[in-house]
C-alpha cells in the first residue's frame, strides 16, 4: 500500500434480485478465536469463531424507518475491501443480516447487524457409528477430521460434492476411505492422512482401497468418473484399477494433475498406454467419460469443467479378453470426492468448495457419536480435543487447521511484519495466570473386540417376556457404553448343531413361566434385531404358535442373548502428565481429550504442545493497529519483528481481527498470540547453517555471542526466525 491510499469497500445485500450494492456510511467486522477452557495465551487452541459485524447504510426509500425496505433480516450480506484503489478487493465477510434498525424516524440511515451463517450447524449431527478398517500394521484408518467434515457438510460447507443420484460409487475420502455409495471391501498399504497446499485433507501414504460398485458395467456400457486431485507440490501418482471379482485385472487408469493414462491388462502386467493431457482448474476437479468398447478395449476422454469441451478419446492397445461385467476396482493416491456415475449430472461439479479441513492427525478406531449433539458443537469438540482451530473464514468457508498448522510448523518462513514501518503500537501483557506447572492430558482409546464367529455377547435380557399366540412384541435393548456392529442371526438356545453354544444370538421359549413344559419347536419364535442408534437395539419377537410362550429357558430365567462380531467400548481413560508431581503442583492444567484422541502418540504430542505453550508465559498483544494488509486474516501466521524498540522477533498467530471502514478510512486491528519457537524451526536453522556435528553447533553458538545457556534462550530464537 502506498503512503497515501484510497481504501475501497463494496458491500452488497442479496435482496432477492441478486446482490444489490448498498450505499454504506460505515462498517466493521470482527473475528476472534476463543480458547475454550485453556489459558489465554493458547487462545488458538479449541478455537471457535463466528464473526460478527455491523453495517450502516442509506436506505432512502421513504420516511418511515420501520417500513420494511428491500434490505431485510435474513438476507445474505457480502463485504469486499481493498486497502488501495490499485489493489484487488479481498473478501472480508460473507455473512447474514441478523437485525436492522434505525436510530431516528427522520433518518434514512439504517444499521444492520451481520453474523456468519451457521444456522445449519445447529441441527443435530448425523454420523452413523463407524468402525475404522485397520491397515496391515493394525493402525486404524479414520482421521478425526472426518467427523468435522461430516458435521459441517450438513450445513453446506463442503470440500467434495454430495453423491449424485446416478452414482454407482461415491467416496468423499476426507478422513475416511469408506464409501458413501457402494461398499468398501479391503485395503492394503499403510493408512495415513495429510494436508495439501490448499489446507485440505487427502489420503497419503501407500494405502490402496478396494471397492465394489453398486451395479456392474457390462461390455458396451459407459460411465463417468469424477474426482478432485489434491493440490500438492509433487503429487504422487493416483491409480484406479478395474478388476474382476476373482482377481484378474481389466483396465488401469493412472491420474496425474497434468495427464491421465489408460492401459489394458495383458497377462499379469498392463499394456501400452494411451493418455490425455488435462489442465486442472483451481478446484482440482476432473471428469472422465469411460466406455467399454469391447471385451478387450476400453477408452476414455476427460474434461476439467462442465462448460469446457471434452478432450479427444484415448484408446489404448487391446488387452486380454474380459467379457464379464466389472464391479470391483482398487484405488490409491491423493484423490478426493471420487464418484462413478452413469448420467452426466451437473451436480457432481463443485467449482467453489466451501470448506478447508486439514488432517487432524488423530487416528480413530471407532467413531461413536450421540445423535443429539448439534453439528457445530461436535465439530468444536473434535477441534478442541485435537488442539486444532475451527472457524468460518472471510470468504464464508468453514476452515479447520490442525495443531501443527496453528503453531506455524511446516509453513515456509512466514511473511514478516516489521513493527517500525507497519504497526502503530505494540501493547502487551503477560500474566502468571497463563502459566501452569503441571499438565495432564487424558484420552480414551476405544476397546474394539472383533471376532468372526459371532461369539461376542452384547446384551442379555433379565426379565421374562410373555408373548401371546400370533402376537409380536418389541423390546428395546439399551447397551451401556457399547456399540455393536454386525449383529448375529437368531437361533434357539437348544440348537447346537447349526452353531455351537455361545455363538449367534439366542432365544429361548417355554410354554410355562417357570421354564417347564414341552420344548417348543425351533420355529416357535421369530426374532429380529436392528441397531436403531449406536447403543440401542430393537428386538421384535413374533410368536408363531397357537399358545402363549414365555422367553424363559429350562431354568426359568430369561434367555435372550444378543451377540455380534464386533463390539466397541470406550476403554479406561489414559492420563499422561508432565511437569511437577500432582502433590506439588500449584497451578495444574487438566485437559480431557475424550474419545477424539485414541492414539497414545497423538496424546503425547498434544501434551508436548500444551507444555510448550503453558510452561513459560508468552505475551498476548492486543489492539495492535497495523497498516492495512488484507492478506492478514484470522489464523494467519506472521513473523513480527521489532528490531529497534522492543527487540521482539517472534512468530505470531492472528487470533483476532477487527476491520473498520469509514469514509476515507480502513482500520485493521489485530490480536496476536506469540508462538513458541519450535524444534522444527531450530532444525531448519541447523539445516540452513549446515550444522551437522555437535562441534559445529558449539561453534555456531559461540558465533552468536552466547556465553551461557541463558543467553541462548534469547539469541537462538531470534536466529531461528531471522
Amino acid at each position: 500500500m502506498g503512503a497515501v491510499s484510497e481504501p475501497q469497500a463494496t458491500i452488497s445485500a442479496d435482496t432477492g434480485a441478486g446482490a444489490t450494492p448498498l450505499e454504506v456510511t460505515g462498517w466493521e467486522v470482527s473475528r476472534d478465536l476463543t480458547g475454550g477452557a485453556l489459558p489465554g495465551q493458547v487462545r488458538a487452541v479449541s478455537g471457535f469463531s463466528v464473526g460478527t459485524g455491523r453495517v450502516r447504510f442509506r436506505q432512502g426509500d421513504g420516511a418511515t424507518p420501520w417500513r420494511g425496505g428491500p434490505v431485510k433480516p435474513g438476507q445474505a450480506c457480502a463485504i469486499d475491501a481493498a486497502a488501495d484503489v490499485t489493489e484487488t478487493a479481498a473478501a472480508v465477510a460473507r455473512m447474514r443480516i441478523r437485525a436492522i434498525g434505525a436510530g431516528s424516524a427522520l433518518s434514512t440511515e439504517r444499521t444492520a447487524d451481520i453474523e456468519d451463517q451457521v444456522d445449519g450447524l445447529r441441527a443435530p449431527v448425523q454420523i452413523p457409528p463407524t468402525l475404522a478398517p485397520r491397515d496391515p500394521v493394525g493402525s486404524p484408518s479414520i482421521d478425526a477430521a472426518w467427523a468435522i467434515d461430516r458435521a459441517v457438510r450438513q450445513a453446506g460447507f463442503r470440500m467434495t460434492a454430495e453423491p449424485v443420484p446416478s452414482a454407482i460409487f461415491a467416496a468423499h475420502r476426507c478422513g475416511s476411505t469408506l464409501a458413501e455409495v457402494s461398499s468398501w471391501v479391503d485395503m492394503t498399504g499403510a493408512a495415513q492422512w495429510d494436508t495439501d497446499l490448499d489446507g485440505r485433507i487427502y489420503a497419503a501414504g501407500t494405502r490402496a482401497d478396494t471397492y465394489r460398485m453398486t451395479s456392474q458395467v457390462e461390455v458396451g456400457g459407459s460411465f463417468y468418473i469424477t474426482m478432485t486431485i489434491a493440490n500438492l507440490a509433487s503429487p504422487p501418482l493416483a491409480q484406479m484399477y478395474f478388476v474382476l471379482a476373482n482377481g484378474p485385472g481389466v483396465a488401469l487408469f493412472r491420474i496425474q494433475p497434468t495427464s491421465i493414462w489408460i492401459s489394458m491388462a495383458t497377462g499379469s502386467t498392463t499394456g501400452p498406454i494411451a493418455s490425455v493431457p488435462i489442465a486442472l482448474g483451481p478446484s482440482g476437479q476432473v471428469q472422465m467419460q469411460v466406455e467399454r468398447l469391447s471385451a478387450t478395449q476400453w477408452r476414455f476422454r476427460a474434461r476439467t469443467d462442465p462448460a469446457a469441451a471434452w478432450s479427444s478419446w484415448a484408446t489404448p492397445a487391446a488387452g486380454d479378453s474380459r467379457p464379464e461385467p466389472v464391479d470391483f476396482f482398487w484405488m490409491d493416491g491423493p484423490l478426493r470426492g471420487v464418484q462413478i456415475h452413469t448420467a452426466d449430472d451437473p451436480r457432481v461439479w463443485l467449482p467453489n468448495p466451501t470448506a478447508r479441513i486439514a488432517a487432524a492427525n488423530s487416528p480413530l478406531s471407532a467413531v461413536i457419536v450421540d445423535g443429539a449433539t448439534p453439528a457445530w458443537d461436535l465439530a468444536q469438540q473434535v477441534a478442541g480435543s485435537t488442539l486444532g482451530a475451527l472457524w468460518i473464514d472471510e470468504a464464508g468457508s468453514a476452515v479447520f487447521r490442525n495443531r501443527d498448522q496453528i503453531r506455524g510448523l511446516g509453513t515456509a518462513a512466514p511473511a514478516s511484519v516489521v513493527a517500525e514501518s507497519s504497526v502503530e503500537d505494540l501493547p502487551w501483557s503477560i500474566s502468571s495466570d497463563d502459566v501452569a506447572d503441571r499438565v495432564e492430558v487424558s484420552y480414551t482409546p476405544s476397546d474394539v473386540q472383533s471376532v468372526t464367529n459371532y461369539s461376542l455377547t452384547v446384551w442379555q435380557s433379565t426379565d421374562v417376556v410373555a408373548i401371546g399366540a400370533g402376537k409380536t412384541v418389541t423390546i428395546y435393548a439399551e447397551l451401556e457404553d457399547a456399540v455393536a456392529f454386525d449383529l448375529a442371526s437368531w437361533l434357539p438356545v437348544w440348537d447346537t448343531t447349526t452353531a455351537p453354544a455361545g455363538r449367534w444370538s439366542r432365544w429361548a421359549a417355554s410354554t410355562q413361566r417357570d421354564g417347564g413344559g414341552a420344548q417348543p419347536p425351533s420355529t416357535a419364535l421369530t426374532v429380529s434385531s436392528t441397531l436403531v442408534s449406536p447403543s440401542r437395539i430393537r428386538l421384535r419377537i413374533t410368536n408363531n404358535t397357537a399358545g402363549t410362550l414365555y422367553t424363559a429357558g429350562a431354568d426359568g430365567t430369561s434367555q435372550i442373548t444378543i451377540r455380534a462380531n464386533v463390539v466397541v467400548r470406550p476403554s479406561e481413560a489414559v492420563t499422561l502428565a508432565t511437569g511437577k508431581s500432582a502433590e506439588l503442583a500449584l497451578n495444574p492444567l487438566q485437559v480431557s481429550l475424550g474419545a477424539w484422541v485414541q492414539d497414545g502418540d497423538v496424546a503425547q504430542s498434544v501434551l508436548s504442545w500444551l507444555w510448550g505453550a503453558v510452561s513459560a508465559p508468552l505475551p498476548v498483544l492486543d489492539q495492535v493497529r497495523v497498516v492495512p494488509d488484507l492478506s492478514i486474516r484470522l489464523g494467519s501466521i506472521r513473523t513480527l519483528r521489532d528490531p529497534s524498540i522492543t527487540g521482539l522477533v517472534a512468530k505470531v498467530l492472528v487470533v483476532g481481527t477487527i476491520l473498520t471502514g469509514a469514509p476515507g478510512s480502513l482500520v485493521q486491528t489485530l490480536r496476536l498470540a506469540v508462538l513458541d519457537v519450535l524444534e522444527g524451526d531450530l532444525a531448519a536453522l541447523f539445516d540452513l547453517r549446515s550444522l551437522a556435528t555437535e562441534a559445529n553447533v558449539a561453534t555456531y553458538y559461540t558465533s552468536l555471542g552466547a556465553a551461557t545457556e541463558g543467553d541462548l534462550a534469547t539469541l537462538l530464537p531470534a536466529a531461528a526466525l531471522a
Binding site: M1, A3, V4, S5, E6, P7, Q8, V85, T86, A419, E420, S421, S422, V423, E424, D425, L426, R625, V627, P628, D642, S644, I645, A662, P663, G664, S665, L666, V667
Partner: protein, 267 residues
C-alpha cells in the same frame, strides 16, 4: 437581470432550468476530503483518504437587494424546486467533468499536455448537465490507432430523449503516439444533459469545456483538472441582513451556503 456585474458566475436551478445567481465577487469554495492517519512506531505516516471531496460555496448576493433576487435561493432551500444543480461558470470553462472521469488510476501513463495521466477504463460513462444553445468542446489525448473510434457524446432532453450523437475518433495521423483529439458541439434549445461514453482503453485527459460566448473558448487547447460542475447542491437557508425598509420591498444583504451533495457524473 444581468445587473451591474455582467454575466453572473453561478447558475442555480433544477434540471433544464438553471438561472443566474446575482452575487458579489469573492466567492469562497472549500473542499473536505475525509482522511485518516496512521503513524507507525517508527514515525512513518500513512494517510488514507476517500475517493471524493465534497465542496462548499459561500455566496453573498448583490447587496441591498430586493427579495426578487433571493426567491430562487429560498425556494431551493425549502425543497420546492426538487433537486437543485449549481453551475460554476469559471469551473465550466476549465473542465466540467468530475476528476475521476478525466483519467484512470491504472495502466501506462499518457502525457496529457505535459501531465502524465493513466488512461480511463474502457466503458467509462459520465453524464454532464449542459445549458441549451451553448457550445461545448470535448477533448482528450489518446494513443489509439489512426481514426480509431474512441467513444461518443449523446445530448439528451430533460426527459431522456436523444437529441444528437457525436462520435469521438482518434486523429487520422500519428497512430500509436499520444496526440490530442477534439470535438465541438452546440446544444439545441431542448438539451438538458449529455452522456459521454468512452469505449477505448487508451484515452486520458478527458475535458469538456463550456464556451465563453458563441464558439469562443477560454483557451485554445490543453488540459485542466476536472471540476465536476454542474453538481447537485443542498441550499442552506439564506441569511438576510435587512438594510433599509421604505415604500416597496425591504432591501437586504443575502448570503447563502451551497453544499455539494450526491455523486458527480451521474444524473
Amino acid at each position: 437581470m444581468t445587473g451591474y456585474f455582467g454575466r453572473q458566475p453561478f447558475l442555480l436551478g433544477p434540471l433544464g432550468g438553471l438561472q443566474e445567481v446575482e452575487c458579489t465577487p469573492t466567492v469562497g469554495r472549500t473542499a473536505e476530503r475525509p482522511t485518516s492517519d496512521l503513524i507507525t512506531l517508527g514515525g512513518d505516516r500513512y494517510v488514507q483518504q476517500a475517493a471524493r471531496a465534497p465542496r462548499e460555496w459561500d455566496l453573498s448576493l448583490t447587496p441591498w437587494s430586493e427579495p426578487t433576487i433571493a426567491r430562487w435561493i429560498a425556494a431551493a432551500a425549502q425543497g420546492l424546486l426538487g433537486e437543485v444543480w449549481l453551475l460554476d461558470v469559471a469551473a465550466a470553462r476549465a473542465n466540467m467533468l468530475a476528476p475521476e472521469f478525466t483519467a484512470g488510476r491504472t495502466g501506462t501513463r499518457i502525457a496529457v499536455d505535459g501531465v502524465p495521466l493513466c488512461p480511463l477504463a474502457a466503458g467509462t460513462v459520465a453524464q454532464v448537465l449542459l445549458l441549451p444553445s451553448t457550445s461545448y468542446r470535448v477533448s482528450g489525448v489518446t494513443t489509439a490507432a489512426n481514426s480509431a473510434a474512441l467513444g461518443s457524446i449523446v445530448t439528451k432532453t430533460a426527459g431522456g430523449g436523444t437529441v444528437a450523437t457525436t462520435n469521438l475518433t482518434a486523429p487520422a495521423t500519428g497512430g500509436g503516439t499520444a496526440r490530442a483529439f477534439t470535438s465541438t458541439i452546440t446544444t439545441g434549445s431542448t438539451v438538458a444533459y449529455a452522456t459521454l461514453a468512452i469505449s477505448s482503453a487508451v484515452v486520458a485527459g478527458l475535458r469538456v469545456a463550456q464556451a465563453v460566448s458563441g464558439t469562443t473558448f477560454a483557451d485554445a487547447s490543453g488540459w485542466l483538472a476536472g471540476e465536476a460542475t454542474p453538481c447537485r447542491v443542498q441550499v442552506v437557508d439564506p441569511e438576510r441582513t435587512l438594510q433599509l425598509l421604505r415604500a416597496g420591498h425591504g432591501q437586504a444583504d443575502y448570503s447563502v451556503t451551497l453544499r455539494e451533495v450526491g455523486r458527480a457524473g451521474t444524473l
